[in-house]
């Protein structure tokens, strides 16, 4: 066994240590906030170090065996370009939301539990991105969800308790179902290590037929976490109820954990099995041939439903919440094309890369917009369109930053969103699928429609009373600038996404790195 790469768990430890420290520092609110911010910076630094280490590694895989128990017997944490890419999204959105929340929330509200919970949520997200063990993935999901339940019910008013109730009960059922599928996969394959499952499915040591059914059950759970239609119904209420910085992380990062799990498990692990599938409209030799059409149907439903519902919302938070449902459809759409493309081919890699670029853009842009919605609430007292107006006159910097976020989601060059949309269309063209192009076009038109409406109602018209909030607006503006920078310097971003997509389909590399055997 090679020397352990301790840097793999650096972000995890940073977030965990901060969560504990902020819990202990409750008697000293100022010190607690300072430590929390420092912890956020340490987390981002840990992610940066890990990212550099992954890029510098010749294979691109860093494996950390917990307590030095060798895989597949012990639990491993695996950092590869895919998990490093997702961690960068978490670090950017998480740090911005953390700085924002210090200025946004009442200091007394922050004292009790906010900072420990926020960092524990990051712990769960990070663990889910890094783990190489299926049961461990379930545990990290639970860590993330437990923190998010409490953060959704944070204000505990009537609508917050109701929203948290929906959110918690749905996710508790989802967790039971996930555990069921994980247990079933263990019974069939005899292992929980993802690389070992891959190897056993590839060699035919495990029967692929039950694994297909169980992975379909698991898919429903991930779709619930990602808020894809028909599992989207918890999204609007939970996003409205949670404080704005928490919503930014829920929409920007926690949703992406579902997307990551789909990419990692279905493209890396389960696709190793060969199984002739023959159902109406579904034919092929691997699991992906089955999941491709399923993902396509869910992506189409998400884009159309999210778009129609977002156009007709009375408030900014609701509009953004339904917009996230639609935008997740845009992330799943290229994945659906990738799933039906030839295994490991150029189109599959491009499809996954398109989904990852879109995830990055959506994570930052939607984080920006939810934080902007929070800033508007603090500045004017409401996010209702009826009570908003003329913000562009009152605060041009804020309006400009919000405009950048909206343009990034619509997909205007030179923002990073343009490339996200462009790649989705490119994937559709290369696949020769008019259906994909038509759906993407409809979704793009809806995006323009609801953001035009939001802009008209909130930023133009009769100006309302407005109190300047420089810190909040500063965070929103910083995210806006990062969108611009990512768009102008897009080439390295695309190469990172491509490396992540290649890692997602490089099964032999993954198995070799974790188990040190040839697939």
């Amino acid at each position: 066994m090679a020397a352990p790469h301790h840097v793999v768990v650096a972000p995890l430890l940073a977030a965990l240590a901060t969560a504990i420290a902020t819990l202990l520092l409750r008697p000293l609110p100022r010190a607690q906030r300072a430590v929390s911010l420092l912890g956020g910076v340490a987390y981002a630094a840990g992610v940066a170090f890990l990212y550099r280490a992954v890029v510098a590694d010749p294979d691109g895989y860093l494996v950390y065996a917990l307590s030095n128990w060798e895989a597949p017997f012990g639990i491993v944490a695996v950092a590869d370009p895919l998990s490093a890419f997702m961690l960068v999204i978490a670090a950017v959105v998480g740090l911005a939301a953390l700085v924002f929340s210090v200025g946004y929330l009442d200091p007394a509200d922050q004292t009790l539990a906010y900072h420990p919970l926020f960092h524990l949520m990051l712990v769960g997200v990070t663990g889910a991105f890094l783990t190489g063990d299926l049961f461990n993935l379930f545990v990290w999901f639970e860590v993330m969800l437990m923190a998010s339940y409490v953060l959704v019910v944070f204000y505990s008013g009537p609508e917050h308790t109701r929203a948290a109730l929906h959110y918690a009960v749905l996710n508790l059922i989802g967790s039971a179902v996930m555990l069921l599928a994980v247990g079933g996969i263990y019974a069939v394959t005899g292992t929980l290590n993802m690389a070992d499952i891959t190897a056993r499915l590839a060699s035919g040591a495990a029967d692929p037929v039950p694994v297909l059914g169980l992975s379909a059950v698991l898919f429903a759970v991930f779709a619930l976490k990602a808020g894809i239609v028909p599992f989207q119904f918890w999204v609007p209420a939970a996003y409205r109820a949670a404080p704005a910085p928490v919503t930014a992380v829920l929409a920007g990062v926690v949703k992406k954990v579902g997307i990551y799990a789909i990419v990692r498990l279905y493209f890396t692990v389960f696709a190793a099995a060969t199984l002739p599938v023959s159902l109406p409209f579904i034919e092929g030799e691997s699991f992906l041939a089955f999941f491709g059409p399923v993902m396509f149907a869910m992506a189409v439903a998400s884009i159309v439903f999210g778009g129609i519902a977002a156009v007709n919302q009375p408030d900014l938070d609701g509009l953004l919440a339904y917009s996230s449902v639609g935008q997740v459809g845009f992330i799943v759409l290229p994945l659906a094309v990738a799933a039906t493309a030839p295994d490991g081919g150029e189109l599959m890699i491009l499809g996954i890369a398109a989904a990852l670029v879109y995830s990055l853009n959506h994570g930052i842009a939607k984080g920006l917009l939810f934080l902007g919605s929070g800033a508007a609430r603090r500045a004017t007292g409401t996010t209702e369109f009826a009570g908003l107006g003329g913000l562009s006159e009152r605060d041009p910097v804020f309006a400009g930053a919000f405009f950048l976020g909206a343009l990034a989601l619509i997909g205007i060059p030179p923002l990073s969103g343009f490339f996200g949309k462009y790649l989705v269309f490119d994937v559709g063209v290369r696949a020769g699928s008019t259906a994909v192009l038509a759906v993407a076009l409809i979704g793009a038109i809806f995006t323009i429609a609801y953001f035009s409406r939001a802009w008209n109602r909130a930023f133009w018209g009769e100006p309302v009373a407005y109190e300047r909030k420089p810190l909040l607006v500063g965070v929103v503006a910083a995210l806006g600038i990062s969108l611009l920078v990512l768009g102008v310097g897009f080439d390295p971003v695309f190469r990172a996404a491509e490396a992540a997509a290649e890692a997602a389909v490089n099964r032999s590399g993954y198995v070799d790195a974790v188990l040190e055997v040839e697939l």
């Binding site: 049961f135 545990v139 639970e142 437990m146 339940y149 409490v150 019910v153 204000y155 505990s156 008013g157 009537p158 609508e159 917050h160 308790t161 109701r162 929203a163 948290a164 109730l165 918690a168 009960v169 508790l172 059922i173 967790s175 039971a176 179902v177 555990l179 069921l180 247990g183 079933g184 263990y186 019974a187 929980l192 209420a237 409205r240 109820a241 949670a242 404080p243 704005a244 009375p314 408030d315 938070d317 609701g318 609430r377 007292g381 409401t382 996010t383 209702e384």
Partner: protein
């Protein structure tokens, strides 16, 4: 072998009962339903380990026959799942109480009739 069939029937009944309770109007029953489903999953996990082997530590030592050993991993998994389930159940019950305090009812029909969108319009979140 009979144990497998009995457990399969028990699991089916537990899931059916859990689903039935989740679909009730009374919020406390919904929480019970979720708990029963989680416990049914734990039973399922134990079942996945099989029933053919002997006690993991004891088998094959001393004069005992070198019998095949029961898979201990599923039991470790179930212990983890039980602890997580304990935490989530406690949270769900506290949340139920908070819902009762805020709304004066735990009837889901009545909770739903307080139109969610209208409530959100009143005061979108934090003021």
């Amino acid at each position: 072998m009979t144990a497998t069939y009995v457990l399969a029937a028990v699991l089916g009944l537990l899931y059916a009962f859990g689903t039935f309770l989740v679909l009730r109007r009374d919020l406390v029953r919904v929480v019970w339903g979720v708990t029963i489903m989680a416990q049914a999953t734990n039973v399922y996990l134990v079942t996945m380990g099989g029933f053919d082997g002997s006690v993991p530590v004891f088998g094959g030592h001393g004069d005992h026959a070198a019998a095949s050993v029961q898979d201990p991993l599923v039991q470790a998994l179930v212990l983890t799942a039980i602890v997580i389930g304990f935490g989530t159940t406690a949270f769900a019950l506290v949340l139920t109480y908070r819902v009762y305090e805020e709304h004066g009812t735990i009837d889901l029909q009545q909770l739903g009739e307080r139109a969610p969108d209208a409530a959100a319009t009143e005061e979108g979140g934090d003021a």
